[in-house]
C-alpha cells in the first residue's frame, strides 16, 4: 500500500460509506453528512492524485469483481492529474453543499457515488474497468441531473437527452475499445499497448472512441445534452459535471489516442483539432447569445473543452511529425487548461448556484444589482469571469498563452499542413478568447452590476456561510493557479510526458519558461505590476487632483426623468451586435410585435421583441434522426397488428425459406 492506493481506497470507502449514511440519517442531518463525506472523499482523491502526480504508482487487479471481466486499477501521472482535479472539485462541492443541498435522499446518496465513479475512471487500467466506471459515472450523473425533476418539467427533458446521448457515446467507446481488445491478448492497458494493430483497425478504434469521449466532453456534434443537463442539475452537481466529468472525455482521448494507440497518423489529430476548434467557437458563440446564466456556463464548458482538444490535437499532430518536445508543450497546455477550467468553472457554477439560491432566477434579463445584496457572490463571480475571459491576471490566460506558444512554435521549418493549420488554430483561439470576453462581460455586467431588473433580484440576500466558503475556496484556487501556475506545471508536464514522451515542457518557479523553444511568461510579475501601477496611478491622482469629497449625483437621463430598470441594457440587447455579426452562423429567431393604440395606427402602445437563438447544430442534426426513428417505430407497428395469422405466417414463410435453402444446398 502506498499513498496513491491508500488515497484511492480511502476515497472509495468514504464515498460509499457517505452514500449509505446519507440514506439512513434523518433529513436534517443529511446535508451535513453528505457534505462532510464529500469533503473526505474529495480530499482522499486529491491525495491519491497528488501522489500519482509525484510518481507514486500502484497496480491491483481483482478478477473476481465484475464477473467475466474482472477489474484492474493503477496509477500514473496522467491518471493522477485527473484524479486530483476531480477530488478538488468534489471537495469544494462538498463544502458548498452543506448549506446548499436540500434534495431528496436518493440524490444526496448518489452524489458521493458519482464522485467515486469519476475518481475511478482515470484509475482504471483495463478496458472492462474503464467501461464499468464510465457507465457508473453516467448512471449516477443521470440520477443527479434528475434530482429536481418535480420542480421543473425541463429537467425530465434534459434527463432524456442526457441519458440517450451518454448511452450512445458509451456504445461507441465500447465498440472501439472492444475492437482493440479483440486484437490483444487481454484487456489490460499493458496488453493493449503491446498489441500489434493494423492501421485501419487503429483508425477505426480511434474514431469510435473519439466520438464517445468527445460526446462526454460536450464537443460538437454530440454536445446537445450538455447545455440542457448542466443548467438543470443542482448547481454543485453542475460544477462537478462541468469541471470534473467532462474532463474525463479529454482523458479518454489522450489515454486511448496517445497512450494506448501510441499516437497515429496526422489525420486523427487534424480531426481532433478541427472538432475542438469548431466546438470552441460554436460553444462560445452560443454562450455569448445565451441569457440563461447556467446555460451560458454550460456552453462555455463546450468552448473550453474545445480549446483543450485544440491543444490535444496539436499535441498529436506534433507528435506525429516527430516534434516530441513541442507535443509535450501542447499537451501540457491542454492539461493545464483542464485544471484551470476546473478551477474557474467550479467558481462560476457555485456562484451561479448562489444566485439561483437567492433569487430563483437564472435569466440574466431579470437579474442585475446583485452587488448590493450579495457582495461576496458578486466578487467571486467577477473573479471567475475574469479567469474565464483569458485576460491577465486571470486563470485561463496562462493556459491559453501556453497553447498559443505551442501553436506558434509548432510550424516546422518546411511548412506543410501545419503551416495552414496552426495560424487558423491561433485565429480560433483568438476569436474564442475575444468572444469569451464579451460573454463574461455580459454575464457579470448584466447579471451582477447596475440595477436589479426584477423583484427577486432586488431582494436577493447573501447565501449561507458554507456556500460562501465553497465559492471562496474555489476562487482562491483559481487565483493561486493564475498567479503561480508553476506550482502545478511540473506535474502537468509529467502527465503530458506519459502520453507523448519527452521531458518536462516547462521550467521555472516564478516564471514559466518553455523547454526547447524561446518563450517565457511570468503571471506573478503581471499581477504585481498591475497592482503597483494601480497604486502609482492612485498616488498620482492624490498628488494632482483636488482633495474635494466625492459627491453622489444623478445619472444622465437626457432630462427625461428618473431612469428605471426597464431602460437598462439587458443581456439580450448586449448580445445583439454580436448576434447580427454572426447572423448566418446562428440563425436566430426574432419576432417583433407592435401594439397600436386603438384610435390610431400611428400611435404605438407597446413593442414586444422576442429573440431565441436555438442551437443550430442541434436543429439541423437531431430532428431528422428523431423523426426517422419515430417513423421507423410508427411503421414498425405494422409488424404487430394483432392478427394471429400474420404472426404464424412469419414462422411459416421463414420455415419455407429455410427449407428451400436447405434443399438447395444439400
Amino acid at each position: 500500500m502506498n499513498l496513491a492506493s491508500l488515497g484511492l481506497a480511502g476515497a472509495v470507502t468514504a464515498g460509499v460509506v457517505t452514500a449509505l449514511v446519507a440514506v439512513l440519517v434523518p433529513v436534517r442531518a443529511r446535508p451535513v453528512v453528505t457534505g462532510a463525506g464529500l469533503v473526505l472523499t474529495g480530499a482522499a482523491g486529491v491525495a491519491a492524485g497528488a501522489a500519482g502526480l509525484a510518481g507514486v504508482t500502484f497496480s491491483v487487479s481483482w478478477p473476481a469483481v465484475l464477473p467475466l471481466t474482472g477489474v484492474a486499477f493503477g496509477m500514473d501521472q496522467l491518471a493522477g492529474l485527473f484524479l486530483a482535479v476531480t477530488g478538488g472539485v468534489a471537495l469544494i462541492a462538498g463544502v458548498y453543499g452543506v448549506s446548499y443541498s436540500r434534495h431528496g435522499r436518493a440524490a444526496q446518496a448518489t452524489l458521493p457515488l458519482f464522485v467515486v465513479a469519476m475518481l475511478l475512471v482515470p484509475a482504471a487500467t483495463s478496458v472492462g474497468t474503464l467501461l464499468v466506471c464510465w457507465e457508473l459515472m453516467a448512471l449516477t450523473s443521470l440520477l443527479l441531473v434528475l434530482a429536481e425533476h418535480r420542480q421543473r418539467p425541463e429537467v425530465a427533458v434534459a434527463g432524456r437527452w442526457y441519458a440517450v446521448l451518454t448511452h450512445l457515446g458509451f456504445a461507441t467507446i465500447l465498440c472501439g475499445l472492444l475492437i482493440l481488445v479483440a486484437h490483444a491478448p487481454g484487456d489490460s492497458f499493458a496488453d493493449l499497448r503491446a498489441a500489434p494493430l493494423p492501421g485501419g483497425v487503429a483508425g477505426l478504434v480511434f474514431v469510435l472512441t473519439l466520438v464517445g469521449f468527445t460526446s462526454k466532453a460536450g464537443i460538437l456534434p454530440l454536445h446537445a445534452w450538455l447545455p440542457r443537463a448542466h443548467p438543470e442539475a443542482p448547481s454543485h452537481v453542475s460544477a462537478l459535471m462541468s469541471a470534473a466529468m467532462v474532463n474525463l472525455g479529454v482523458y479518454g482521448v489522450v489515454r486511448v489516442g496517445l497512450d494506448l494507440l501510441g499516437g497515429g497518423p496526422r489525420w486523427w489529430w487534424l480531426v481532433v483539432l478541427g472538432l475542438g476548434a469548431v466546438s470552441a467557437v460554436y460553444g462560445i458563440l452560443q454562450a455569448a447569445m445565451s441569457t440563461d446564466l447556467k446555460r451560458l456556463l454550460g456552453f462555455s464548458t463546450t468552448e473550453n473543452l474545445g480549446l483543450v482538444l485544440v491543444g490535444v490535437g496539436a499535441a498529436g499532430l506534433l507528435a506525429a511529425g516527430g516534434q516530441r518536445v513541442l507535443a509535450g508543450l501542447a499537451l501540457a497546455a491542454a492539461l493545464l487548461h483542464v485544471v484551470n477550467h476546473a478551477a474557474f468553472k467550479t467558481t462560476l457554477f457555485l456562484a451561479a448556484g448562489s444566485v439561483l439560491h437567492a433569487t430563483g432566477v437564472r435569466d440574466l434579463d431579470q437579474l442585475g444589482g446583485l452587488r448590493r445584496g450579495m457582495p461576496v457572490t458578486t466578487a467571486v463571480f467577477g473573479w471567475g469571469a475574469l479567469a474565464a475571459s483569458a485576460l491577465p491576471p486571470g486563470t485561463a490566460f496562462v493556459s491559453e498563452w501556453l497553447l498559443l506558444q505551442a501553436l506558434v512554435h509548432g510550424v516546422p521549418e518546411g511548412g506543410g499542413a501545419e503551416a495552414v493549420v496552426m495560424p487558423v488554430a491561433v485565429a480560433v483561439v483568438a476569436l474564442t478568447a475575444g468572444l469569451a470576453v464579451a460573454t463574461f462581460v455580459k454575464a457579470f455586467g448584466v447579471g451582477f452590476l447596475a440595477r436589479p431588473r426584477s423583484r427577486q433580484a432586488g431582494e436577493a440576500h447573501e447565501s449561507p456561510p458554507s456556500m460562501l466558503a465553497g465559492m471562496v475556496l474555489a476562487a482562491a484556487v483559481a487565483a493561486v493557479l493564475a498567479v503561480l501556475p508553476t506550482l502545478v506545471l511540473p506535474a502537468v508536464g509529467a502527465a503530458a510526458a506519459v502520453a507523448v514522451g519527452g521531458g518536462p515542457a516547462t521550467s521555472g518557479v516564478l516564471t514559466v519558461r518553455l523547454t526547447g523553444v524561446a518563450g517565457e511568461l511570468s503571471p506573478l510579475v503581471y499581477a504585481v505590476a498591475l497592482l503597483a501601477a494601480v497604486v502609482l496611478v492612485l498616488g498620482g491622482l492624490r498628488a494632482t487632483a483636488t482633495r474635494r469629497a466625492r459627491r453622489a449625483a444623478r445619472l444622465w437621463d437626457c432630462g427625461g426623468g428618473p431612469l428605471s430598470a426597464r431602460m437598462e441594457y439587458t443581456a439580450t440587447s448586449f448580445a445583439e451586435p454580436l448576434q447580427r455579426v454572426f447572423d448566418d452562423v446562428l440563425e436566430p429567431e426574432q419576432d417583433v410585435t407592435v401594439d397600436h393604440v386603438e384610435e390610431s395606427r400611428y400611435l404605438v402602445r407597446a413593442v414586444e421583441y422576442r429573440r431565441a437563438v436555438p442551437d443550430r447544430v442541434e436543429r439541423r442534426l437531431y430532428p431528422p434522426v428523431i423523426a426517422a426513428l419515430r417513423a421507423w417505430g410508427e411503421a414498425g407497428r405494422r409488424l404487430a397488428t394483432g392478427s394471429v395469422h400474420r404472426y404464424l405466417g412469419y414462422g411459416f414463410y421463414t420455415l419455407c425459406g429455410v427449407l428451400l435453402v436447405l434443399a438447395v444446398i444439400s
Binding site: 414498425g636 394483432g642 392478427s643 395469422h645 405466417g649 411459416f652 420455415l655 428451400l660 434443399a663
Partner: protein, 220 residues
C-alpha cells in the same frame, strides 16, 4: 407379409394420408373437415399397423392401437365437441387465401416437402423412408392451414394436421422415438388440444364469434 404387399399397403396408407390433408384444405364445412381428420388419423394408424406387421413388433401394434384411439376417436371428438353449439361457425368463412390459391400453394409445398426430405430418404433408403416426404408435406400443409384459416376450430384442425404429419415422419423414419417420449408427446398433444378446445369455447362464450381476425385487441 410380403415385401410388395407391405410396400403397397404402406404407400396406400401414405397416399390416403396426403389426400386427406389436401381435402381438409379444400373443404370448408367444418363438420366434414373433422370427419376427414378422423380419416387421416385412421390412415396414420394403418400406416403404423403395417409397419408393426412388417416388424412383427407387439409394441408397435400397441402404439398403432393407441394412435387409432387418440387420432380417430379422442381428438376429432374434442374438436367436434367444440363445434357443437357454434352454429354460426360451422362453415369456414372466407379464408385469407382462397381455396384455389391454397391448393396451388399445397402443390408447391408438396414439391418443397419432397425436395427437402431427400437427405432423410437417402440416409436409409427403404419403403418406409420413401414415404417420409408425405409426412413432411402434411406438416407444411398443416402449417398452411394454421396460417390461412380464420376459424378457431380450423386452426385447431391445422394444428392436428401438423401433428399427424410429424407423427407420420416419426414412424416412417425410425419407428418411434422411445416409449416414454412417445407417451409424453401424445399426452402433450392431447392436453394442448384440450386447452385449445377449452379456449375456443371460452372465446365463443366471451365474445360470440370465433373468427380469429376479430381477435386483434392486443396490438401495437
Amino acid at each position: 407379409m410380403s415385401e410388395s404387399l407391405y410396400t403397397q399397403l404402406l404407400y396406400l396408407a401414405a397416399g390416403a394420408f396426403l389426400l386427406t390433408a389436401v381435402l381438409i384444405l379444400w373443404r370448408r364445412e367444418l363438420a366434414v373437415i373433422v370427419r376427414i381428420l378422423a380419416l387421416q388419423g385412421l390412415a396414420l394408424a394403418v400406416m403404423v399397423a403395417v409397419l408393426a406387421a412388417r416388424e412383427g413388433s407387439v409394441e408397435l401394434w400397441a402404439v398403432a392401437g393407441g394412435i387409432a384411439v387418440l387420432r380417430v376417436g379422442v381428438l376429432p371428438h374434442l374438436v367436434r365437441r367444440a363445434l357443437t353449439g357454434a352454429e354460426a361457425a360451422r362453415r369456414e368463412s372466407a379464408p385469407s387465401v382462397n381455396v384455389a390459391s391454397s391448393l396451388l400453394a399445397a402443390a408447391g409445398l408438396t414439391l418443397l416437402g419432397f425436395a427437402v426430405s431427400q437427405p432423410l430418404v437417402a440416409l436409409a433408403p427403404s419403403p418406409a423412408t420413401q414415404a417420409v416426404p408425405v409426412g413432411v408435406t402434411v406438416v407444411l400443409i398443416g402449417f398452411l392451414v394454421l396460417v390461412t384459416r380464420r376459424r378457431a376450430l380450423s386452426q385447431l384442425v391445422g394444428f392436428l394436421l401438423l401433428d399427424n404429419g410429424i407423427t407420420a415422419v416419426g414412424f416412417l423414419t425410425t419407428a418411434g422415438v422411445g416409449l416414454v417420449v412417445e407417451v409424453g408427446v401424445s399426452l402433450d398433444v392431447l392436453l394442448a388440444v384440450l386447452v385449445l378446445q377449452l379456449l375456443a369455447t371460452r372465446m365463443r362464450e366471451t365474445f360470440g364469434d370465433t373468427d380469429l381476425d376479430e381477435l386483434r385487441e392486443l396490438r401495437d
